[in-house]
Structure formats: structure tokens, C-alpha cells
Amino acid sequence: LADSVDNRETDLHSAASSIIGSETDSLKMIEKIFYWVQDNVRYIAFEEGIMGYKPASASKVYDHLYGDCKGMANLTKILLKTVGFDSRLTWIGTNDIPYNNDIPSLAVYNHMICTVIFKGKKYFLDPTESFIALGDYAERIQGRPCMVENGKNYLVEKVPDLSYERNVENQNYTVRIENGKLLGFNECQYMGEPKTSFLRGYNSTKSNIKEHAVNAYLVGSNSNLIIKNTKTSDLNERAQPLKITYDFELKNSVLRSSNNDLVIMLNKDQDLSRLYFDSTRVCDYEFTSKYNISHNCSLKIPNKYKVGTAPSPLNIDNDLFSFNFRYEQRDGELRLVKQIKIKQAVIRTSDFQLWNKSIEQVIKFYNSPVILSQI
């Protein structure tokens, strides 16, 4: 079917050259074409009849600036091919499909991407995933088997599984107590799914409310959190981490006792605390992606105070997830270190009890205050 498509490759050579410009580095050339298709071709699928399997002509997709996954993969392939790369169409079944290509059926594949073989390495390009970098793979195709065209035959391959470590969400914030308030400055860094998800959301938001939307995203459901002076790194940059900084105030987080002890609620975010499975749930739970969250909070201990009580460390670690929370005292600072890793994107019903028990401990840690006593 793919062979019968008239791609008018010669017409697209000049387009590919124009996209690449003066770039000479091969990987950068691949990146430029991959990103151009992501940015400029809209995903619109009308899969009538044979068009459910046959890609649209690359030149047609280029002219229309829209196409389905096959059309976009085919355009990517042809643009790369016209400038000399070994690019190939690739059938893949996303994680929506609960089986793999062991089953001899057309139904094992529901998606098409483009594979580039460069210096013996295979790069799987999915141009329908906007804002994803070369070599990075969306959760839905990670670890999934695929079929790469190979002349009259095919290659059976597998997209790399990038593990939870890819999805970085780091927050480093410093806080101080001023006039009974907790004030702070936060530096956030995102990679993987949190980053692509943020960039997609940002670019899908109306221009006139973008700033408001970013703040709303950062505040989340914490109505005690007030943020200002938000700054972001380049929101069109794919390969580098997304960085966001802001100043914040955490309201209702400091209580002073009648004997001048300070009781402080330092947890700014209570990630996953609402995820609790009751007996009515009969299906497994699937996260949108794996998580790798790390928070480091430094509280400057006020003069004439010492740490009276701090919550005990929490360390839960198993094959599915881990919660490692602890307080450390160092150089006049109290540090809160929180690390959450969701290693598997699916929690089976058989693991709900384990999850619920863990979350109870997590909530207890979140809610437990630190007490600073006067020296």
C-alpha cells in the first residue's frame, strides 16, 4: 500500500532543504525535519476505507499541513529520505492495545511512526507527539513492539522503555519565616512527560490567558499558595529541561504557641494524597505516565530557635513505587527531602491495599508539622 502512494519526492526535496537550511550536522538535520513536522502539520484523521491503512501522499500532507499519523509519518520519512537519510515507515501498537504482535492480526497496530536508522542506531520519530525531543519517547509507545519496513520484508523492533527516571519533576525551594508567614523562592525543572505535557497545554491555551494558566498550573489545588514573579525558560525548546522559577507565599502555615514555639506546615504540595482506592473500584488504575518527583525544601531556622520536633522519615520502596521523605538539619537550615517514584504506570487491583496503606502514611507525613522551639 505504501508503495502505491505517489509522494512526489522530487517536489519535497526543496522543502526539506529549506527546513534544514545551512545545518550540516546529521542529527541536527533529523531534529529540524522532525520538529518542523511536529510544529507545522496538524493531526487530523479522516481514515476512510483503505485510508485506515494507506498513508496519504507526503506532498499532499505537506500542501495541506494536516494529516493523520500515517500521513505525518510518511511526510517525515520522505523529507528525511530526500536529503539522504535511511528513514522508514513503522507500524506500532500503542499501549492502548492490550496485546502485542504475537497475535497474527492487523489489529495489533493502531499507529504509524517513522524510524530513522543512523549510524546503526534506530531513532523512532512520532511526529504526532508535539514538543517531544529526538530520542525521547512518549509513554504510549515506550516498550511497544513495532514493525519497521525493510524493502519487501520488515524488521520487528521495540521502542526503548525509558523508565520512570525520564519523567523528571524537580523542585528546589528555599523558605523563610517573615512576620509569621512562610515566604519562599522555587526553582522547578521538568523533563519527559511533565515537560511535554506542560508545553502542549501551554500551546493549547489562548494567548490572552497563558500567563494566568501557567500560574494556575503551578498553584494546583493549594489555595494557600500565592505565587508571583513567574519566569520560564524557552517554551519552544524541546531538548533542554523546562525551567520555571517563582516567588511564593504559603499562607496559614505558621502557628505560634503561647510559649512562642513555632509550628510549621512545610509541605507545599501533597502529591497523590487524594489517590485512594475504595472497594467499589474493580479495575486497575493507570497513571498517565510514570513519575519521578523530587522536592528539596530548605527552611532557614530563625535566630534563637532550634528544631524541637520533626516528623520521622518515611521510606516505602517496592517494585511499583517508592516514597522517600525525610527532614535533615544542616548549617542552620532544616531540609525537607521528598522523592516520589511511580515506577510502573499501572497499579493492579491486587496492589490497591498496598497502595492505600502507603498513602495513609504519606498523608500523615504531609500533614505532620515541624516544631521550632526557642533556645
Partner: protein, 703 residues
């Protein structure tokens, strides 16, 4: 099937004659961050003498960012457009000056055929809208789309999806009375209008960079046909016109002109028909109620008592109780009740008026001929605003919340309702009545209208009358399980009572608890289900306030008499809750504010764009009793005190330590129904203080 075959038999595409690039120079500076701007949108629906409807659409979009691009990437146009591959449907004016023609070949493949074709199962044959993916569209482009189609029936809805700022908009519809009443929707014709407030604020109207205009012919038509000279002509006038078959000229001639002033971004429904079905049921109902009334009141000595009983009997027959009941009763609504009641009143020779009213949250009508989302009711002039409406759980005579306002009330003219001859009752012959049932008010109608308007001031209730009174006790702290007992007693009065009743009944027992709502259940099972449902409902209400309910210990509902204004609905429950407190060393941090439940959060960051509106004035009172765990004392209870009061309302909290406990009294009062956006701080002030209160904590210290 035949009807479907006739749908959209013929459609055609207009050729676009425009050659010049649409002008974008007049776009106001304040729209610089808008994602998509509609430079012009025109929709026209006319019915010709053969009963064919011509629908034409012409729109010019200006794509400003990727969001806008995504929104306009695909369009849906009427099904079975028979455009040839070379028929032009639209154009893209590119930033670089080039023009891309959009033709029939860009329509989606016609995988779903209409007419002879059917669905895969062969069960259905249906029309489908045609998707059009816009080719080559990019940010900065201008897209022009135009088509017209002929159809054999009215579209059920006409969407004017203008959630984007619009430079110029026209809407024109002209249909005959027969279609108006018996068209696609059978009972009424609706036009759904979506507006964006920025287009319709009075600020824009007076703005010198007047960016939205109506065409001159529209203005002339409005002047001639719609508005009298003393009416202000807004530039954003949307015109809906339905004129009627000359043969039925005396029936109804109907106009709606609408300015959209001070609208929220929400769906508005213009409904313009008093026609309704269920005439037979109505007659039967009236006869049955009359019979029961006649037994109880052989002579009508107390009009109010008579009417209350009429209302009561009606509700006995038609009070929504379950899905089954509603279906059985043909979903009787306000129109149905009005007809039944008017028959009874007319027969009893009690003067009355039937009216429509425009809920105040739509703002005042721009002209007297405008009514949006009307509600039906009956008013008894001599008793001054003694209102009936059975579907909102209001006590008869009480003003339903959506009437509670100053506003325009349209009194229905006789021609809207069919003259009615009251049937004989139990074999007794009543005199034939040649007069129409409905009484026409002193009409101010001009020559174009057959009904009149009066400006009415329905009495608005005092906040104290719509009281939600909560008594909450927190006790029995268990430090091992981190739980305590949350004991609540809430009473609802006035419109709060009506609102609670509605919520209680809207999720019907069967729907909530039975797999099959139509399954017959025994009385015993029914009682058990009712009990379970009530427990679930009460527990759900407590949970919805943000409380972590572990178990329900006790619960009860005291309904009292629905018809007694002074009797509240009282809900009581003892539940075990979690996470209200956390212990740390010698301290316990108690989330006192959380006891208040979730509060309305004002938007503190943005400037208020629209005036405020709430359905009715109301008061929430809380008395929080916290019985401290033994050996503990509370620190700094006064930090819970706060007060904000303005003309809009107030929030006040007063706390005191009381031996082994704490008592906190709070009051939140909405004294306004409408409030000017320019005084937003007066509303936000007390709302914010109440919201802030919910985050307050206090320390309990070991003695």
C-alpha cells in the same frame, strides 16, 4: 425514513465572489492577545413559498495563534453538500499575500452516505455533517468560508458559536408559523446563541473604536419592524425574526431582538412558543383536581386555602418522585401546570394572569419584545403576586428564586393559549365558555405584538428567610486512628429549603439505588432502599464539603410540612471523620476552618468582567462546638475572629474558649442579588474572608 430522505435533498455551494483581502486594520488594540478573531459572521435562514429553507453562512476568521489554529482546523458544514471538486467553498489569505482556494475536494470522504445508505448495522439511516479540514492553514492567515444549503425542515438548533471576539455579526431567520410550531422541534424553535462578554458590554457600545456594526439594511429593518423610536439601538443587535403565514396572521407575530448586554459567557436559549403538548392530560388533570377541590371546598370562602389545596393536589399527582413517575406524568412542567391551574381559576371565577418572565440573570431585556428563557407562572393581581410554580419546590405564594427580582414580565395574550371549554364534571354539565381562558393584561403592545408587558417588582426575600443554619460539634478525638466524631444538624428554610428539596429529589431513589429504575420493588425493599439512599445522600453532602467521612453513625431527615413556610427541613448526622487534626509532640493542630466546608472562592487575581448575580439573598450560620480532647487547652483562639461587612454582604466569625471547649459562631450573608462589577471588592471582601477562614488552624497544647 421518508422524512430523512427529504432532508437535505439539495444543497449547493455559493461561489465566493470576494477578491480583496479582508481588512484587519480595524481590530481593536485590546484584542491583541486573542487567539482567533471573527472579522465577519453572517447567518441567514429563510423559508420560501414552497416550504424550502435556505440556509446560508459566510464567515471570515483571523487566526492569531496556535490555539486559534487548532480551533479552526476543521469545520463542520451541513451534510450532503454536493460540491464538485472544483467548487470553491472558501479561501485562505496567507500572510505572504498568496491565496489558497478551498474546494469540494477538501471535504471529508463521504464515508457516511445519506438517503439510500444506512449505518453498518443497517438499522439507522441518517444525515451527517461534512467535515472540512482546512488545508495549508497557518497562524496569521485569514480564512473565509461560505456556503448555502437547502433543507426541507428547520434545523433544530442554530448555533452561532461566537466565543471569539467578533467584528461584525448578522443573524437573520424568517420562517412561517406552521414551521414555528410544528417544525423539527415540534414544540418550539430554539436559537442557541453563544456570546463573548467582551463584545457586549456597555463599555464597548460607547467605545469610539466602534468595531462591531450591523449593516444598514439591518438597521432599517429593525427600525421599521422591531423597535420603536425611543428604544436604544445597540450595535450588537442580533435579530431573530419569525413572521407567520398571512393566513394565520392573527395567530402570532413574533419578534425577538436582543442586545446581549451584560451577559455571562454561557449558553442562552431563546424559546419563543407557548404552544405545548399534553392537552388531554391537562384536561383530565384539571377535572380530577376540580373534583377533589369541590369536595373539600364546596364554596370558596378562603381563596388562599383553596389555591393551596389546588397546588397540593396537583403536586400529589405530579410531584417529581422518580424517573418512572416523571415519565408516566409526561414530565409536567410549568407550562402544563399553568394550563391546569388557569382552568381551575377560570372556573372558580378567580381573576388571574398567566405570565412569562425573564430570569434576571440574563439582564433586562433590551426591548419589551424580548424574553429569554421564559418561565411560566400565574399571578393573582388582587392578592398581589401570589405565584404558582410546581416544579421548583417552592411553597405556593413564595416567589421562586428566578422570579425574585425586578424585571419585565410578559403577560400572555389570549391568542397564545387555546380557548378552552371546560368539560363537564362527573356528568354535571357546565356552561360552554366562549371566552378565552387567559386574561390579557393592559397591553402596551405596539401594532406588531399581540401581548403586553408590565414592569413588575416581585418581592425579594430577606436573607434571614433563606437561612441555612448549621450546628456542628467535633468531639471524641482518637489519636490512634486520627479520627473524631463530627456531629452536624443543618436546617434549611425558605429558598434554601426549596433548593435542598430539589437536590434531594433530583437524584431519584430508583435511579440511585436500582440497577433497573423500572423494576417493581416491594414496600419493604422500597423502605430499605430509601433508607440507604438517604444515608448515601447525607454522607455525600458532608463529603462534598471536603470532609473525609469514614463512617456514618446516625442520620435523620425531618421534613416537616412542605407547605408550611416556617417549618425547616432538618438534616442531622453523626459521622466519623478523618484528618481534621494532626498531633505533633505536645501539640495538636486542629483544622477549625475546615468545619465550615468549602466556600465560594472569589477570583482575586483578575478584574471582574461582569456584574454579580445570585439567585436569592441568603444567610449561612454556623455554630461550631469543639470539645477538646482531655488535658488539652487551645492557644490563640482569637486568631479565628474576623469581620468584613459591606453593602453586598458580610462574613463574621467570633470565637471563644469555653472551659474544655471552643465555640465559634460564623455568619455569611449575601444581602445583594445583583451587584455592580465596579464594586467587586465589596463582594470579594466577604467571600474572600469566608474562604480564608476555611484554611485557619489553631493549636491545642497539653496543659
Amino acid at each position: 425514513m421518508k422524512k430523512f430522505l427529504l432532508l437535505n435533498i439539495f444543497s449547493c455551494i455559493f461561489m465566493i465572489c470576494r477578491a480583496e483581502v479582508p481588512d484587519t486594520s480595524g481590530i481593536p488594540v485590546r484584542w491583541k492577545k486573542e487567539s482567533l478573531i471573527i472579522l465577519s459572521e453572517k447567518y441567514r435562514l429563510t423559508e420560501n413559498s414552497s416550504g424550502i429553507f435556505n440556509e446560508s453562512f459566510h464567515c471570515i476568521y483571523y487566526v492569531r495563534d496556535k490555539f486559534g489554529l487548532r480551533q479552526i482546523s476543521t469545520l463542520t458544514i451541513p451534510g450532503d453538500i454536493k460540491a464538485g471538486d472544483n467548487t470553491e467553498i472558501g479561501r485562505i489569505y496567507r500572510k505572504d499575500g498568496s491565496v489558497i482556494s478551498i474546494t469540494g475536494k477538501h471535504l471529508t470522504p463521504r464515508q457516511i452516505k445519506i438517503g439510500k445508505s444506512s449505518s453498518a448495522t443497517g438499522k439507522f439511516s441518517y444525515e451527517s455533517g461534512q467535515k472540512l479540514a482546512i488545508p495549508g492553514l497557518a497562524v496569521g492567515d485569514i480564512l473565509e468560508i461560505e456556503y448555502s444549503a437547502e433543507r426541507h425542515s428547520l434545523p433544530s438548533t442554530v448555533s452561532m458559536a461566537s466565543i471569539y471576539p467578533t467584528m461584525r455579526k448578522e443573524f437573520y431567520a424568517s420562517v412561517t408559523a406552521s414551521q414555528f410550531f410544528t417544525g423539527y422541534a415540534s414544540t418550539y424553535f430554539e436559537a442557541f446563541l453563544y456570546f463573548r462578554p467582551v463584545n457586549f458590554t456597555s463599555e464597548n457600545i460607547s467605545n469610539t473604536d466602534q468595531s462591531i456594526t450591523v449593516t444598514q439594511d439591518t438597521v432599517e429593518r429593525i427600525k421599521d419592524e422591531i423597535l420603536t423610536d425611543d428604544k436604544k439601538l445597540y450595535p450588537y443587535l442580533i435579530l431573530f425574526k419569525s413572521h407567520f403565514d398571512p393566513a394565520k396572521a392573527e395567530f402570532v407575530r413574533n419578534y425577538i431582538a436582543f442586545s446581549g448586554e451584560e451577559l455571562e459567557t454561557k449558553q442562552l436559549s431563546i424559546v419563543r412558543s407557548i404552544y405545548y403538548r399534553g392537552d388531554k392530560i391537562q384536561k383530565t388533570t384539571a377535572s380530577v383536581i376540580w373534583s377533589k377541590l369541590h369536595q373539600k371546598h364546596p364554596i370558596i370562602s378562603d381563596t388562599i386555602a383553596w389555591m393551596n389545596d389546588a397546588f397540593y393536589f396537583y403536586r400529589e399527582m405530579y410531584a417529581p418522585g422518580s424517573v418512572f413517575d416523571n415519565v408516566k406524568a409526561n414530565y409536567p412542567g410549568d407550562k402544563f401546570f399553568v394550563n391546569v391551574m388557569s382552568r381551575l381559576l377560570f372556573k372558580a371565577k378567580i381573576p388571574y394572569k398567566v405570565f412569562l418572565t425573564q430570569p434576571d440573570y440574563y439582564g433586562k431585556p433590551v426591548s419589551e419584545s424580548t424574553v429569554i428563557d421564559p418561565h411560566y407562572g400565574i399571578v393573582l393581581p388582587r392578592l398581589k403576586y401570589y405565584l404558582f410554580n410546581p416544579v421548583v419546590y417552592n411553597i405556593p405564594g413564595d416567589v421562586p428564586s428566578y422570579f425574585e427580582t425586578q424585571g419585565y414580565v410578559e403577560f400572555a395574550a389570549n391568542k397564545h393559549f387555546k380557548p378552552y371549554r371546560f368539560p363537564g364534571l362527573l356528568g354535571v354539565l357546565f356552561l360552554p365558555i366562549a371566552l378565552p381562558v387567559y386574561i390579557v393584561t393592559d397591553s402596551k403592545a405596539n401594532k406588531y405584538r399581540k401581548f403586553g408587558f408590565e414592569y413588575a417588582e416581585f418581592p425579594s426575600s430577606d436573607p434571614e428567610q433563606n437561612l441555612v443554619n448549621n450546628e456542628i460539634t467535633l468531639k471524641d478525638f482518637d489519636f490512634t486512628k486520627n479520627t473524631c466524631i463530627f456531629s452536624i444538624r443543618t436546617s434549611y428554610l425558605g429558598k434554601a429549603k426549596a433548593s435542598y428539596s430539589r437536590r434531594l429529589c433530583s437524584s431519584t431513589l430508583c435511579y440511585e439505588t436500582c440497577e433497573n429504575p423500572y423494576r417493581r420493588v416491594s414496600r419493604k425493599e422500597d423502605e430499605k432502599l430509601a433508607s440507604e439512599y438517604l444515608k448515601k445522600f447525607i454522607s455525600g453532602n458532608i463529603s462534598s464539603e471536603g470532609h473525609n467521612v469514614c463512617s456514618v453513625k446516625t442520620y435523620s431527615l425531618e421534613k416537616g410540612s412542605f407547605f408550611s413556610p416556617g417549618e425547616p427541613i432538618v438534616v442531622s448526622a453523626d459521622v466519623e471523620v478523618k484528618d481534621f487534626f494532626v498531633s505533633a509532640g505536645k501539640y495538636v493542630v486542629l483544622n477549625v476552618g475546615q468545619l465550615l466546608g468549602e466556600q465560594l472562592q472569589p477570583n482575586r487575581d483578575t478584574v471582574r468582567q461582569n456584574n454579580f448575580f445570585i439567585p436569592y439573598r441568603k444567610k449561612y450560620a454556623f455554630r461550631l462546638n469543639i470539645k477538646l480532647p482531655p488535658g488539652y487547652v487551645a492557644d490563640d483562639v482569637s486568631s479565628l475572629n474576623g469581620k468584613f461587612q459591606s453593602a453586598a454582604g458580610k462574613f463574621v466569625s467570633q470565637a471563644s474558649a469555653n472551659g474544655d471547649g471552643i465555640v465559634v459562631n460564623t455568619e455569611k450573608i449575601y444581602t445583594f442579588q445583583h451587584y455592580d462589577k465596579g464594586k467587586a471588592s465589596e463582594v470579594n471582601g466577604f467571600l474572600a474572608l469566608a474562604d480564608d477562614f476555611t484554611h485557619l488552624k489553631i493549636l491545642l497544647r497539653k496543659k
